[in-house]
Symmetry: C2
Subunit: 304 residues, 2 copies
């Protein structure tokens, strides 16, 4: 039988030993700190405890529609103190990856964006040129002139060398057609994240993965994903925070994204909370593919 | 080595023997009769030859945006004489399947449509109730009220028991959200066809498969597809024409859809033409998964 996670809730000695092992905590947000609009009791106090012990806290989210500044506003609105530098969202992760890791040489380094303003803000912050995104000229029906100009290339920008697909609430046939043709002409294919669904209103709506999947299906290409559990995101975080992976713990509610992200990133530890998607039964199951190192019923159990 | 297809072009005796074997010819259109807007020379004469020999001709297309009447107009505009009864398109195939094979009992038998007017016309012709489709009230951005009403069900129609996804040039986030929630509530999942791309302007644009794939990705469910190579389409055709499969030949340019459709339907024969997508090298290859029984360079080679 695979080693089972250590249960920390109610065990003060075990909690202290756990906290002493780590300098950095990467925290997933929805399902860990809150659910939808409901902040979990004790979230603020637990974060205060971590900070009071000198721990670095990083909020890691696959949300691709918000810039770090947008996301900080959300944290503030939930009553959680934070600084922009503590926030790592997949739009920012994508911008960092493009500018510091991918480094496509000019002139063919412009990005065609499927997504919202959060992506645009982060691309701008890294000095990356882009088209598409929230540009209203793409928010309309396709016309015979579009078919012709996309097919013969006259309506395409020759300098586009990257397609970045995030969650786009304004996705349409015209935008997908442009993205497909840039990919068919050899552009690199990136996705902020590939979550098929987006939790909202206590249920699910289409996620960023719903925007990239038609392109995957049409081209047969898989994008490099910049959200959890992709290690491209871990590399981006490390590029910024320069942490010691062995002294870092990933905290999350989803085994297949958060906990897998931490394990594949060879972090010193992973902590599952039971206030979100994954249940204890998932790692109890015979042959469970992902098993956290530690678990608590809820994050605030870390207060002992 | 697998048996190779018999080459008919230029071999008058072989052509006559071939024609004598069949009473019914199922003809794919784009890539066989024409390419884009260009009618191939000899198409009209070849169809005349088949008809003069008493053969039943059926135009079989995965095009889901057109009703049979729309498609007949297209054939006429290309200079090809035809009757509506000779046309089998995936929108019609879907309507036939819903009304004559699926037979969901009322009241939960309404269809939520992702698609264009061709689908609506064919559903109406079979007396099937539907919502969505070209209804302009779905052609807009999603609002906070939509999230709430979709999540709590107050904006959903309790009588929807089927989601039918075809090619929708007006696909958007709101429509995908509705479709997903009907599926999550147990609606049956149908797709007119699942072609990832649509040939147009000598290149490709997003096909009907680009509309259903986000829903497949979100729900983990596969739709019953009503286009080639799905045998649900063959069953629909047979339900209407009552042909003898052994005396029927499928003619097409794509091995993975047309020829596979004929082979899996246990038709008497399959004829590949080289004026479209698939090349001779595909069936020459070691371990080729689909091999036609016959091939010609072009359809008009059947004139000998």
């Amino acid at each position: 039988m695979a080693p089972q996670p250590k249960h920390l809730s109610g065990d003060k000695a075990a909690i202290n030993e756990f906290l002493d092992q780590f300098d950095v905590f990467l925290l997933d947000c929805d399902g860990v700190l809150w659910s939808g609009d409901n902040l979990f009791p004790g979230t603020v106090e637990t974060l205060e405890l971590l900070r009071s012990k000198g721990k670095q806290v990083v909020f890691v989210t696959n949300n691709s529609t918000k810039s770090r500044a947008d996301y900080q506003k959300k944290l503030t609105s939930m009553g959680i103190p934070s600084s922009v530098d503590e926030i790592f969202a997949s739009a920012y992760s994508s911008a960092i990856y493009i500018s510091r890791i991918l480094k496509v040489p000019p002139p063919r380094n412009k990005v065609y964006v499927l997504g919202e303003s959060g992506i645009e803000t982060e691309l701008k912050s890294e000095g990356i040129e882009f088209i598409g995104g929230t540009d209203p000229s793409y928010r309309r029906d396709i016309t015979p002139e579009d078919y012709k100009g996309i097919a013969d290339g006259s309506l395409l920008d020759d300098n586009v060398g990257i397609v970045l697909a995030g969650l786009d609430f304004h996705v349409n046939y015209l935008k997908l057609s442009h993205a497909y043709h840039y990919l068919a002409r050899g552009a690199k294919f990136l996705a902020t994240n590939t979550d098929s669904t987006l939790p909202s209103n206590h249920t699910f709506f289409p996620g960023a993965g719903s925007i990239s999947i038609p392109l995957i299906n049409m081209t047969g290409q898989q994008p490099t994903a910049l959200g959890k559990p992709s290690q491209a995101m871990m590399d981006s975080i490390e590029g910024k925070f320069q942490f010691d992976r062995k002294r870092t713990c990933m905290v999350g509610d989803r085994l297949d994204t958060d906990i897998r992200f931490g394990i594949e990133g060879k972090l010193g530890g992973t902590l599952a909370v039971l206030t979100g998607v994954s249940k204890k039964e998932e790692w109890d199951a015979e042959g469970a593919p992902v098993i956290p190192a530690f678990y608590v019923e809820k994050l605030s159990d870390l207060m002992g």
